[in-house]
């Protein structure tokens, strides 16, 4: 029963994708009906699987698994299969919830039921439609997305990819899902392909992640050659791991396990935007907000971390590899947090916070805190999806206001907002919850527990450098989160648009509430036993459940006062400071932190464009085109031409005309003509004669071959 369910789990979204594309792409209601229906089906299946998974004893040691023969390869078969272990179970849980919530949210976000825009066209965001209401007032209302059905088709395909990735029990199908998601990410970032920025962002994202995928593919190939299979069970079998750990590779003397782990980790870095491959994620905010929420916050980027967790047994075999991972993660966490301080675009702030949170998880993997990473993965998925959806709701409300007031403002600029608390209460409270969770507000929010666990682990395992970096990052996180909330919701409206902003429809608020619920409660399943007062109130089943997946992970969650106090301090301090600073700030000018280095994201993009983009264009332009092509080649050609011109004249007058033409030329011409007319009989256009000829040739060749073999 469960195998069967596992197999069909990813299929409904795929079916929806095809149906929408082929059949129902004309009807909005049908399209989103199909998409949400499919999402709901998969959600149901995931819930059933999740609950059943909880009931099974020792799921970690004996995950559910079922394989089928896919392609016969020589004597053996290439097998594909599905499996369900604690990690994939919890991943399924949050994937199912966020995906469903976002599907429903998108209905409202794309203004279902609104009139078509006056001058909307596919590839551009809707501009709004003029309607005359009952008593003859002409007013502008948001208009429905022109490519409504297409959007739902794409996210359905994306959901398929995610589910496939989660349930698959081998790297091959995992990679297939991975690439499907890459494609969807490309399609959805460039969803409004009318905007050049969106186009560039899409291409950037695609290429950047491709860099990571290259390495991942390398790792997979190596792994296959070494262990002869891509199925996790085979790869992580004890003897195979031993073999991998003992073989030493020429690269830095890393062990094969470490090297493959690192290659796969590069894939992770690409997918979940770790430094130095993080540049694509902020630009990905060009896509519609639900996309940013789902792909670039909740699920797809989590896929990278998911892969890292899957590869943990490999990585953990090589301490140096682990160290690399840990430092990349920690650095990314801090680095991105600093950038987030200076962003004014509400979505970009969240984008950078995403990067930094992913950095947290990666760092946790690096310090061997397997469970903590998984825990943060889950909680982060919830509150980050919540935050993005909240941001989307804010933007939507602002658009509404802007249409109403008719002024042209950047609806994503936080300095244009303010005072939205009264206008959009639901959005405010949910966003507040999400923000608190992000900044790790003590005890009640989910983010606190997971982040605290990571810090505790780092401290307990004595990775003090990592610990301090993460703590600093946590402080910054709390700070810019509060900055964002203050600028957006508190104080007085700074623009007409903000003043006339408007609470979003129920299709958007309900998902917000759902996610808010999880943003709080998701943390209570992982409270460490030794925590004062609360510890032991609730069983820390998350830890026991997930820890059983990998033997390396420590069975008990550690607890120390130091990290706890520090994280309390940084969280509360950051929040307080953020409120204190940005209470009165009304315009970018007054913002002390608008320093160029942060504003320009540590010049990363500039650096990359100097390092990679410019050189290649320069090479193409100057070296290849100007120098090689026009300079040398053309020069040579011209020289040859001039020379030959002179030569030609001479030859023509003294050689060509008399001798060649007279004797050879016409003679040859005649012969060629004669032989041609003789030969053309060969090409009779008769199939059979061709066939005869070819078979005859075959025999001649065969005879020659055999004869020669005899001779030599």
């Amino acid at each position: 029963m469960m195998d069967w369910l596992l197999w069909i789990l990813p299929l409904p979204p795929l079916l929806a994708f095809m149906l929408i594309l082929l059949v129902t792409h004309r009807s909005h209601a049908w399209s989103h009906g199909l998409a949400t229906g499919a999402a709901a089906l998969s959600w149901l299946g995931s819930m059933v699987l999740f609950i059943r998974a909880l009931m099974i004893e020792h799921l970690g040691q004996h995950p559910l698994e079922s394989n089928i023969n896919w392609l016969p390869s020589g004597t053996s078969w290439l097998q594909i299969g599905v499996s369900l272990d604690p990690l994939s179970a919890v991943t399924l849980f949050f994937v199912a919830w966020t995906v469903l919530a976002i599907f429903i949210y998108s209905i409202g976000y794309h203004n279902f039921g609104q009139p078509r825009g006056d001058h909307d066209q596919p590839g551009l965001p809707p501009h709004g439609a003029t309607v005359t209401d009952a008593d003859g007032h002409r007013c502008i209302v948001p208009s429905v997305e022109p490519m409504y059905a297409r959007f739902f088709a794409f996210i359905s395909l994306f959901a398929f990819g995610m589910y496939l990735l989660v349930v698959s029990n081998n790297l091959l199908t995992l990679f297939i899902g991975w690439e499907i998601m890459g494609l969807c990410s490309y399609l959805l970032i460039g969803f409004w392909y009318g905007k050049p920025s969106a186009r560039d962002a899409a291409i950037k994202a695609f290429i950047t992640t491709r860099v990571g995928d290259m390495f991942l593919l390398l790792g997979m190939a190596w792994l296959y050659t070494v262990s002869g299979s891509l199925s996790f069970r085979v790869i992580f079998s004890a003897e195979n791991l031993r073999a991998l750990a003992t073989t030493v590779t020429p690269v830095f003397g890393l062990s094969a396990a470490g090297l493959i782990g690192l290659l796969c980790f590069l894939g992770t870095a690409g997918k979940s935007a770790q430094w130095p491959l993080h540049v694509w994620l902020p630009d990905a905010m060009e896509g519609p907000t639900p996309v940013s929420a789902m792909i670039h916050a909740a699920t797809m980027v989590s896929a990278g971390v998911y892969l890292a967790l899957r590869m943990f047994p490999l990585l953990s075999l090589d301490s140096r590899a682990l160290t690399v991972v840990a430092f990349v993660g920690a650095f990314t966490a801090l680095f991105a947090a600093t950038i987030a301080l200076a962003q004014n675009d509400i979505k970009r702030v969240l984008a950078y916070s995403t990067i930094s949170q992913l950095g947290y998880m990666v760092a946790a993997v690096g310090i061997g805190a397997y469970v903590a990473a998984a825990f943060h993965l889950v909680t982060h998925a919830f509150f980050k999806a919540l935050l993005f959806l909240g941001a989307g709701s804010v933007i939507h409300g602002m658009e509404h206001g802007a249409l109403h007031s008719g002024e042209h403002v950047d609806v994503q600029d936080m300095f244009q907002m303010g005072g939205l608390r009264q206008r959009m209460p639901v959005t405010f409270w949910t966003f507040l919850i999400g923000g608190l969770a992000l900044s790790g507000f003590p005890l009640i929010t989910a983010g606190f527990w997971s982040k605290d666990e990571i810090l505790a682990e780092a401290y307990a395992h004595g990775h003090y450098a990592v610990f301090l970096t993460l703590a600093a990052a946590a402080f910054l996180t709390a700070f810019y989160t509060m900055r964002q909330i203050t600028l957006t919701f508190l104080g007085q409206p700074r623009t007409q648009a903000a003043a006339h902003a408007h609470e979003t429809p129920r299709t958007m608020t309900v998902p917000l509430l759902t996610l808010a619920f999880f943003a709080i409660t998701a943390g209570w399943v992982g409270i460490p036993e030794h925590f004062p007062l609360l510890g032991g109130l609730l069983p820390n089943w998350f830890h026991e459940f997930v820890a059983s997946t990998s033997s390396e992970a420590s069975a008990k969650a550690p607890f120390h006062w130091t990290p706890l106090l520090i994280s309390l301090g940084v969280a509360l301090g950051g929040l307080w400071l953020g409120w204190l600073v940005y209470r009165k700030v009304g315009a970018p000018a007054q913002d002390k932190l608008q320093i160029p280095v942060l504003k320009n994201r540590w010049y990363c993009d500039t650096l990359y464009s100097i390092l990679f983009v410019r050189p290649s264009t320069w090479l193409a332009e100057h070296f290849v085109s100007r120098f090689l092509d026009q300079g040398i080649l053309d020069g040579i050609l011209h020289g040859v031409a001039r020379l030959s011109l002179v030569l030609g004249h001479a030859l023509r007058n003294y050689v060509d005309a008399p001798i060649i033409n007279g004797l050879i030329g016409d003679g040859t011409g005649a012969t060629v003509k004669a032989s041609g007319s003789a030969l053309r009989r060969m090409q009779s256009g008769r199939v059979q004669s061709y066939m005869t000829a070819s078979l005859g040739m075959l025999f001649i060749v065969a005879v020659l071959y055999l004869g020669l073999r005899r001779l030599f």
Binding site: N69, P72, W77, Q688, S689, T692, L695, G696, F699, A702
Partner: protein, 186 residues
């Protein structure tokens, strides 16, 4: 020389003779009918090989469908195909030569084939060939599903592909057969 050998020789002679008639008959309709003779001869050979299912399938598909299709086509193009004028020896001689060479080559291969002289093993007593074939063609686990023994012998994928091929052929044939005018009408 046992009865079975005699039977085989008769069937073989019949088949080959009919085959020769197929390629040499002047009237196409006769050629087609000789083809039917060949097909039935081959069916007899299948029977000798104890492949009862294929005997019937041979009759149903080849004689019942393919041969009838041929005759149909021949009738539809009657004016042309009443007499197939003998092609010039310049055509026939190389063809004959090639065929002879091929025959020589194939016979050489057969002679070189070590197993060529072997006699058939006894049929498994409880072999339900039809069900076994069905299992091999249709069940993902291959005949294992039928026989309860695991060995990789599943032809689901090729079989499905073949069915798709048939479908494609069907569509293509219909498209080719409908005239432009009719296509424009509908």
């Amino acid at each position: 020389m046992t009865a079975e050998q005699g039977l085989f020789l008769c069937a073989a002679a019949f088949t080959l003779a009919s085959a020769v008639m197929v390629v040499s008959a002047r009237r196409l309709i006769h050629a087609a009918l000789w083809l039917i003779a060949v097909l039935s001869g081959v069916a007899i050979l299948y029977a000798l090989l104890q492949a009862s299912f294929l005997v019937v399938v041979q009759v149903v598909i080849y004689i019942g469908a393919i041969a009838v299709l041929f005759i149909f086509a021949i009738m539809l193009t009657r004016r042309q195909t009443d007499h197939d004028a003998p092609s010039r020896w310049t055509r026939r001689a190389p063809a004959f030569l090639i065929s002879l060479l091929t025959l020589g080559a194939l016979s050489g291969i057969v002679l070189a084939f070590p197993e060529a002289g072997r006699l058939p093993p006894p049929m498994p007593p409880d072999l339900d060939a039809v069900n076994a074939l069905g299992a091999a063609l249709l069940s993902p686990t291959g005949a294992a599903a039928y026989a309860g023994v695991l060995f990789h012998e599943s032809y689901v994928l090729p079989f499905e592909v073949a069915s798709v091929l048939l479908l494609a052929a069907l569509v293509g044939a219909i498209y080719l057969a409908t005239t432009e005018r009719r296509r424009r009408e509908s």
